[in-house]
Subunit: 398 residues, 2 copies
């Protein structure tokens, strides 16, 4: 049968992601992967899972195994109210919607807003998973320029003035892929620009709880609540295998997202939502988070230290106060894909930066490295290999 | 802010489902709901959940909480091989894909196949959740005629001859909403028609394990494997709150569905998949299924018995050998929505049949009743109320 002829037009926008192939190679035995964005297995609260399951079954019984509302499991939404308030996001339980990971929120917002040809504004570079979620709805992209402090407000203002934009998509805190955090003054500027242009922002905030140093910055949602759909997840502070994402959106947007997701997956697993509810409400998260930070802080420091030693002077890298990634920019003309081939042979993997741009031209000199999945000694060894390979690559290309 | 102006064209196809409002009313305290499609809480293997969780954590540890492949958790896919083979569906572990409920399969196939205006052929009546999944991709529908044995093969042949059809959607066994099962000879005819027209069928099979009497009929997938995407779920034989659906598709279709779902939810909960793997592989399902059937068999019988007593002679109803639903057809002109209003006042709810048609005209005389969620005595009481209300409604409309 000729299956290809049955495909929808949109399906040709879904490229079997090259990064997926990289991650497949990166996960082969013996490989040190700085490529993925995996939480450390050691960060999972394995030792309390049986206790937590017991508590959930005792408390909710059959309800934890039954169909539930598309909006989300009410005890989880209630437990999230103070958790989000502590971040500066004010919401009632009814105002919080649960999705199947924050990926489900990206799909949901794309589905209700993007008609083919509509414009979505994204940072350059931006999160690859967002592009994967939006592409099937066939948007055009407008790129917002960034510098060391993240998105440049004047560039956002220009993009919004130049054309009708359906959605602005940002990861303002410990961005994936750069690790950059937008400073408070820029957040105020972004909030003002959104209001001026009546624009809607999807603020993707998976990492803000993973802060190793410095002071928290309030989310843009807290500065322009009517203009922001706020998205977060328990994947980094509980476990990604539960697939629990959460969303605080203006009420009309929330209603449409709930209607849309009924057709997509009905609702998120009641059982994993009940585990998450108990994890937060009974104080497990509060106890676990410092442990998670204690695992990641020295890993990030090890990467900083190794980069200082092993990277040539004309290579710049970000120094985020949290999150999971460091972003490296080589001199103009440097080929991160060639470097990738060299280090793969020696058992180390990262992701070339070009995959994080909707327009990758001229970005071949960048790459992203994750520091949460390997221990400090392994990171030190891996960065030394990267350093050696860079020296060889520079010598070869001269 | 004017949020409505931001909506995509497709979003106007997503009507906040009227059935959802019915289900909301139906789930209010004191109401006897024959409206939903909920498994009985008593059918869940609650007493083994702690043991099962313990086994999963001992066996898989952190892997059960980590990100996993979009294709599905390999031990679950392996466990499903003999389970599906017993139904007549031959597949390797690699050929089985796990989705977030079978709703995720409906969304996935719609997403990769349907461009706006493409034709999807569905039974009249058909499963409402499929319409909700397909609508956002803006198909046109062609209706396939049915009789007491389900779809009429000649009608399918005509529909496929008349126009290019991207997808045929059927629930051949214990259909939702009618409970009807397509007999073997018609399945052979359908297989032949699919082959003749090079057509692709989505065979939705959530209920075939719920057989109370009679002999199993092989799935159409077993008769035309190249032309069929086979979909099933563990929602009826384990628990819907886990959101585990499974799919066996021709390889090219499988690949595109996996690529599409990466943007939708990345993957189904690893933890609930691991629970499902252990539930099947360790023999829990085999022990639980007879118990589930023992709960539902007398409930169905109670509904049959009560209908025989309380329904007027010119009301026809289906007598399925399994599944969760019975379908009632009143005389022409009978108004099931007026009946619905009458019984709601007396604390009983069902779903008017018109919601299951893409073209509901002239179908106001039908309704669907679920028999799995209430015990036999309650069903007897509820059907007596329905019978009284029908008599009043007939008297009032004379």
């Amino acid at each position: 049968m000729d299956y290809e002829s049955l495909l929808a037009h949109r399906t040709h926008t879904m490229q079997a992601s090259a990064i997926r192939e990289i991650l497949k190679v990166a996960s082969s035995p013996g490989m040190v992967s700085l490529a993925g964005g995996l939480p450390a297995a050691e960060s999972f609260p394995l030792e309390i899972m049986e206790e937590l399951t017991g508590a959930v079954l005792a408390k909710y019984g059959a309800q934890a195994l039954q169909y539930d509302a598309s909006e989300g499991f009410l005890p989880l939404r209630e437990a999230l109210v103070p958790h989000l308030a502590a971040r500066g996001v004010k919401a009632t339980a009814e105002g919080i919607t649960i999705f199947s990971g924050s990926q489900g929120i990206l799909d949901g917002i794309g589905k209700i807003l993007i008609s083919p040809g509509d414009v979505v504004a994204v940072e350059a570079p931006t999160y690859l998973g967002a592009i994967q979620a939006f592409n099937p709805y066939e948007p055009r992209y407008a790129e917002i320029e960034t510098d060391g402090d993240g998105l440049i407000p004047e560039s956002l203002d220009r993009v919004l003035a130049d054309q009708r934009v359906k959605l602005v998509y940002l990861v303002p805190t410990f961005q994936n892929p750069t690790g950059r955090t937008l400073p408070l003054d820029r957040r105020h500027a972004v909030a003002e620009i959104l209001r001026t242009h009546n624009a809607l922002l999807l603020e993707d905030d998976p990492y803000s709880d993973l802060r190793y140093t410095g002071t928290p910055v309030p989310p843009i949602k807290s500065l322009a609540p009517e203009n922001v759909v706020y998205s977060s997840t328990l994947s980094k502070t509980f476990a990604p295998g539960l697939r629990v994402g959460l969303c605080v959106a203006p009420a009309p947007i929330q209603r449409w997202m709930i209607t849309a997701r009924q057709g997509v997956d009905l609702h998120t697993s009641t059982f994993t939502q009940a585990l998450a509810a108990e994890y937060i409400a009974a104080g497990y998260l509060e106890r676990q988070l410092p442990r998670i930070l204690d695992i990641y802080r020295p890993r990030q420091q090890a990467m900083f230290d190794a980069l200082a030693v092993h990277l040539p002077e004309d290579f710049a890298y970000t120094r985020p106060e949290g999150g999971m990634f460091i972003w490296v920019e080589g001199p103009p003309g440097f080929d991160a894909e060639a470097l990738q081939r060299r280090i793969l042979e020696r058992g180390v993997a990262f992701v070339p930066g070009k995959y994080f741009y909707v327009n990758p031209e001229g970005k071949q000199n960048t790459f992203r490295m994750n520091f949460t999945a390997a221990d400090p000694a392994t990171i030190e060894r891996a960065i030394a290999i990267v350093g050696d390979a860079i020296a060889e690559e520079l010598a070869a290309s001269r």
